[in-house]
């Protein structure tokens, strides 16, 4: 009987100790000190598009922020394409996240959060441009902060933790899997209702000629 009482006392002591330690543990700082705007999946998807949706050619690019060939494609092919063909209404470019690498999902959360506030382009460009700086550590925040105002950065930081942004990234990934994407970069060029997959890096001079050929068809 005495042994049983001792066991009860020990259990009570342990429970009290656990309760005390959990209440003493500092609560994680919630990033929502800033008012988080309510965003929808459609808003995020819209933020990752370039040009007009009724352009004769649509390009869906599935990229991973940590993949070197995606960096090459974004900086050396898609950027000039945006300047020459998207701005003139000939091409509608839609960016999709397809995170494969360890930290690319974190980068995608920040990029999609930036898309929700209309700042996808500078954030995506910065993430690709400084890929080597964060791809080993996963520290994407300083890279994103460098191209946003402090106020916008706070919003993006908060949004990047939300389930809607996580869902947006996952939706892109699922959509890519459904289309048979299994490597990055992969582009789908749609013209006259026909969707053609282009796997791997393509240089701008060659892509431009292909688009010209499609436009003259």
């Amino acid at each position: 009987m005495k042994a049983l009482a001792n066991r009860f006392a020990l259990a009570a002591f342990l429970l009290a100790a656990i309760a005390a330690s959990s209440s003493a543990r500092p609560r994680p700082r919630r990033p929502s000190q800033t008012a988080i705007p309510k965003v929808t999946l459609a808003q995020i998807a819209q933020g990752k598009t370039f040009g007009v949706s009724n352009a004769p050619i649509r390009i869906d690019a599935y990229t991973d922020f940590e993949c070197p060939h995606c960096q090459d494609l974004y900086l050396n092919t898609l950027r000039p394409l945006i300047d020459d063909y998207v701005s003139s209404g000939k091409v509608y470019l839609v960016d999709h996240d397809f995170p494969f690498h360890p930290y690319s999902r974190i980068a995608a959360y920040y990029a999609d959060a930036a898309a929700a506030v209309g700042r996808f382009s500078p954030v995506a460009q910065a993430l690709f441009l400084h890929q080597s700086e964060w791809s080993y550590t996963g520290k994407v925040e300083p890279i994103v902060a460098a191209v946003l105002s402090p106020a916008k950065m706070k919003i993006v930081q908060a949004l990047a933790q939300t389930s809607v942004v996580h869902q947006a990234v996952q939706d892109d990934y699922n959509q890519g899997m459904h289309l048979g994407v299994n490597q990055t970069p992969t582009m789908f060029i749609t013209h006259n209702g026909q969707k053609m997959p282009i796997i791997g890096f393509v240089s701008y001079p060659i892509l431009r000629r292909y688009i010209d050929a499609l436009l003259h068809q």
């Binding site: 997959p197 796997i199 791997g200 068809q217």
Partner: protein
């Protein structure tokens, strides 16, 4: 097996081999030259027109470009010549004309293709092979294995063609002169 039966079998194997290789090259050429947007599948949609040819060649150019081995001008030259070369090789192999030299050229070409694929595979390039035109033929181990089989077939046809020519020469020399003896 009699020597005659062995010769007949060797000739039949050579015919089958060159027809298979020729069909492969014709299929590869058509895959690159056919209209890119040929779906929904109809006979009319498979018709090659000057406009569709331009788009198809550029689609093939993008696939060559993804190997990142050639400058833009090199990509353009290769994309506009290789499908026609494959078409010519296919026709020559099917017809059996100049078999020794065409099969030798085929073997060399397939050896080049294989080394390019091997190099790209080990360089970690995640690309579409582009061997039979646009699509999603990922560059992977099974693709490389298939390429080895094509190369082995081409090599067998080349060896067979040279051996056949040699045996024919020997057989011709062994036939006694048809001139009447006085």
């Amino acid at each position: 097996m009699t020597p005659q039966a062995r010769t007949r079998l060797r000739r039949w194997l050579l015919i089958v081999g060159r027809l298979a290789l020729g069909a492969l090259f014709l299929f590869a050429a058509y895959g690159k030259l056919r209209p890119v947007d040929s779906a929904p599948f109809t006979l009319a949609s498979l018709k090659i027109t000057p406009n569709s040819l331009d788009v198809s060649m550029m689609m093939f150019a993008m696939q060559i470009d993804s190997y990142q081995m050639l400058p833009s001008w090199g990509v353009m030259v290769l994309s506009h010549t290789l499908p026609w070369l494959e078409l010519a090789i296919g026709l020559f192999l099917v017809s059996g004309l100049l078999l020794r030299w065409v099969s030798l050229l085929t073997t060399l070409l397939l050896a080049v293709f294989f080394s390019v694929l091997l190099h790209s595979y080990f360089a970690g390039l995640q690309i579409n092979c582009g061997c039979f035109g646009p699509g999603t033929e990922a560059l992977n181990g099974s693709r490389l294995l298939l390429e080895v089989l094509f190369l082995a077939l081409a090599l067998a046809v080349t060896i067979g063609a040279f051996l056949d020519a040699r045996f024919r020469r020997i057989a011709r020399a062994a036939v006694p002169s048809a001139a009447p003896a006085d």
